[in-house]
Amino acid sequence: MIPVLLVTVPLLAAAGLLVPAARRVVRGYGLAVSGLVLGLSIALAATFDYARPAAVQAEVDVAWTPGLDLRFHLGVDGISLPLVVLTALLTALCFVYLAGRPSRRMRALTVALLVLEAGMLGTFVALDLLLFFVFFEVVLVPMYFVIAVWGGPGRRAAAVKFILYTLLGSAVLLLGLLLIWAQTGTLDMVDLARTHGSGMSRGAQILAFVAVAGGLAVKAPMWPLHTWLPDAHTEAPTVGSVLLAGVLLKMGTYGLARVAVPVLPQGAEAVAPWLGAFAVIGIVYGSLACLAQRDLKRMIAFSSVGHMGFVLLGFATLTPVGMNAALFGNVAHGLITGLLFFLAGGVKDRYGTSDMTRLGGGMLGRLPYLGSLLTFAAVASLGLPGLAGFWGEMLALLGAFSPGAGLSRPLYLVFMAIGGLGTVLTAAYFLVMLSRVTHGRPDARWRDARLPDVTGYELAAWSPLVALTLVIGLWPKSLLLVTDPAVRVLLGVVP
């Protein structure tokens, strides 16, 4: 029952805001609703039976449109549960942030964010291919408006680029899903994952995998389909960037874990080396692009390309280790990059720019709290052992060291080596960024500027992310225990 509430509560709340009289309650409204949804997701996590995380729990299955075989089939297992909680958490934190820094046209922004939340949560709890697709599409329009209305100076072009790119990906994804449906005659993701694509020829599986993974790779994003991302992330308002990086990208990789790899094993085996190659190119390309950036926000955006490269590399190994790495990396990236975008937004709000050369150095001296948080997030993102970012990257490389049966080991060793080089480059650009922004002497230009340090609202929005980064960094098993059994079932490996 809870998955249904996760989807309907934000939608109904958004509809409620459209009533003209709702104008007055808008300030605390989003916070209350997203807090309620967060509470629901925590209740879901609390009632989850951790003894059998591979089984679908809290299942709801009602026929919706028999003519399309479309069923309203929702549920969670070990793969979706962490992402559901992450989504609810990040949305709630966005509203906490907005409570401290109200935006213009707050009512419309609240509606957009709540619809967005419903779409994101729905994507993670849907267990019917078409329903998954419907929720996958729900996020497009609200995110378009979030970028196009509340974004930076280049917002229009960025928003259009975002929606066109991702819609093209969605259309290709739909073709792949319908191909699966035409070949197997079912849309039920649980059934499909259980039968591991029996009834589909190898050729059909490859075709469907290319379409499904290609469509999802636009969202993930995978190099070379990532070009919408830097603009969208840079131009989006802070909460938009946080949700884009923290959740929307995960919808692509979640789809790979949920649909592409388990349902189309033969297709996955044939295409995985390509996926791995694009992934490591993305890692290196993302890092090099980051080194060349002057804008803090744009640099973080490009860092997502690199980090999602590690996630995709994890999938490409087709091993339980790699898949676990990918799912771990997903959550870690959501926490850390979400925090980084919050901080970049905080920097931009204070200095009025996020250009690193204009910011000058010395943030640690001038704004010690903000500077320390930025340092923390940056070292977490570069994969310092003991923080969340480390495990996803390390396990992905470990997975590449011994890839799944049928994959060429030498090739994956090359991938591993290039990925390892990527971790070094990642460390390099984050350290360069820190040396330019947080260290050194404050720039004279800001001497007379009034620069308040971290406010209470910001602290409330950011500290949960810091805490979770530490917790799952120091105790990775907390997450792996939930995902691992589910991963083994999806891959058909008996534990």
Binding site: G67, L68, A108, L167, A171, L178
Partner: protein, 492 residues
């Protein structure tokens, strides 16, 4: 030869025809300017009730059948059949007709158009539109199709001293006459080869059966039959504005009054598609090898060209005109697939499209009253002054683009995609996928303007009839969004 006519079966068009006569009388003798409008609305609603009654009754009625002694051993071959297909298409037509009548009430409030003539012509076109899906022989098909088309030329030109309207009417007239001529020529070739005018008999003869000795054995004339089929297809392609017979759409929609443009984009188009589906699936299934690939190419070209033309438009109605050409492509696409679900998919798309497109036209008609230019930029910031109109238009546009929250449009696209994939037309599916992206660009750019933060212009007053029209379209689209089953399984 005495025919017994089943008046219950022909009630829907009959009521409309009688209402048309009544409207003229009312206009001449009652002298109240608003009476014809309400009489027309009553006629349409009564006809809808008749369709609903026939649907509830369930037994597919048929009339004007061949008497037993003339059948030559063949089937009864009725000319007028009120089966499920007929009733579903009629319901779509009449739903759109209600909106057109309501929009006309707003349009005619200015008083520069004679009301009696206007509603008379509208009802004539509606009668043809409702008779068309019931037609099961070539003569009846052509007559119904002309009954839909002829009044529209006059409707387009009814506002006097309007250059654009006159030009639109003339263009529409020329295109329509040419297409009718082409179609008639094709139909006559088919008749010449098979010696039959009833669709099911034509199919039987093309498949090898013989009911008469008046013509040589079929098979000998196969190339002529192929030529006939291609010409008929071309004729219908004109009617539904499929590429390469699409040139007239932009100017005609733009020049005609908005209710007439709405009629053209939904009722006239649905009539064309109904005729196309009837002819090709009932009469020419044996020649699928000929027309299947042609329809596929036509569909791909239509959606691509329509979308590309729509991209460059700055005028609201012209944009809707070209987008409706593109939508024709999506309706055609499933027909190219040999799959069993092809016709239900096309009909489902047609029904969903009718609801969304009527809604968009209804809001445009409202806005056109105060912003005569009706450029896309006139819609900037509409949200600030007329939130309900803006929200409704935004919803319809997102529906047409096929994105949530416009689930009706999304499901319409999924149905069509599914048929195309199931029919094995991978290339067409990819063309469609690219086209949905092109389509999204102009729809979302328009929808984005509605919510732009600019200095608000004048509010857009909504008249009661137009408000009801928008509300009807909104309810229909909303219901289809929540329960797409209604459209998707309409044909069972």
């Amino acid at each position: 030869m005495i025919q017994s006519i089943d008046y219950a079966a022909i009630a829907p068009p009959l009521i409309l025809a009688l209402a048309a006569g009544l409207v003229l009388l009312l206009d001449a003798f009652l002298g109240r300017p608003r009476a014809p409008g309400f009489a027309a609305l009553g006629g349409v609603l009564l006809s809808t009730a008749a369709v609903a009654w026939l649907a509830v009754e369930g037994a597919g009625r048929a009339t004007f059948c061949i008497p037993g002694e003339l059948r030559g051993g063949g089937p009864a071959s009725c000319s007028y059949v009120a089966d499920r297909f007929t009733l579903v298409i009629s319901a779509v037509m009449l739903g759109a007709a209600v909106v057109v009548v309501l929009l006309s009430m707003t349009e005619l409030a200015r008083g520069d158009v004679p009301a009696g003539e206007w509603y008379f012509l509208l009802l004539c076109a509606f009668a043809g539109a409702v008779a068309l899906p019931a037609s099961r022989d070539l003569v009846m098909l052509v007559v119904s199709l002309e009954l839909v088309s002829l009044p529209v030329f006059v409707l387009a030109a009814l506002r006097r001293y309007d250059g654009r309207a006159g030009e639109a009417a003339l263009k529409l007239f020329l295109v329509s006459v040419v297409s009718t001529a082409v179609m008639l020529f094709g139909a006559s070739l088919v008749y010449g080869v098979t010696g039959e005018i009833h669709l099911e008999r034509i199919a039987a003869v093309l498949a090898g059966a013989r009911f008469t000795d008046a013509v040589p054995a079929p098979g000998a004339g196969a190339p002529v039959a192929v030529a006939g089929v291609v010409l008929v297809l071309a004729g219908f392609a004109f009617k539904v504005a499929a590429v390469p017979f699409h040139f007239w759409a932009g100017d005609v929609y733009r020049g005609a009054p908005v209710p007439v443009a709405a009629l053209l984009s939904v009722i006239s188009k649905a009539a064309g598609f109904a005729g196309l589906i009837l002819l090709f699936t009932l009469a020419f299934p044996a020649l699928r090898g000929v027309w299947g690939p042609l329809v596929a190419v036509l569909a791909a070209a239509t959606m691509t060209v329509g979308n590309l033309l729509a991209l460059r438009q700055r005028h609201a109605v012209r944009l809707l005109a070209w987008s409706s050409v593109a939508q024709s492509g999506y309706i055609l696409a499933p027909l190219a697939s040999a799959d069993r679900g092809a016709v239900p998919a096309s009909v489902a798309y047609l029904a969903l499209y009718a609801a969304m497109n009527m809604g968009a036209f209804a809001v445009v008609a409202v806005v056109a009253r105060t912003r005569a230019g009706n450029e896309l930029d006139d819609y900037r910031g509409l949200w600030a002054v007329s939130p309900w109109s803006a929200a409704a238009l935004g919803f319809f546009l997102v529906c047409l683009a096929g994105l949530p929250p416009g689930l009706a449009g999304l499901f319409a696209k999924i149905v069509v995609f599914r048929e195309v994939v199931a029919g094995g037309l991978g290339w067409l599916a990819i063309v469609m996928a690219i086209n949905t992206v092109i389509g999204l660009y102009y729809y979302i750019a328009w929808a984005g303007r509605l919510f732009a933060a600019v200095r608000p212009g004048r509010a857009v007053p909504v008249t009661a009839p137009a408000g009801v029209a928008v509300a009807i379209a909104l309810v229909a689209t909303g219901v289809f969004s929540a329960l797409p089953q209604l459209a998707i399984s309409a044909l069972g």
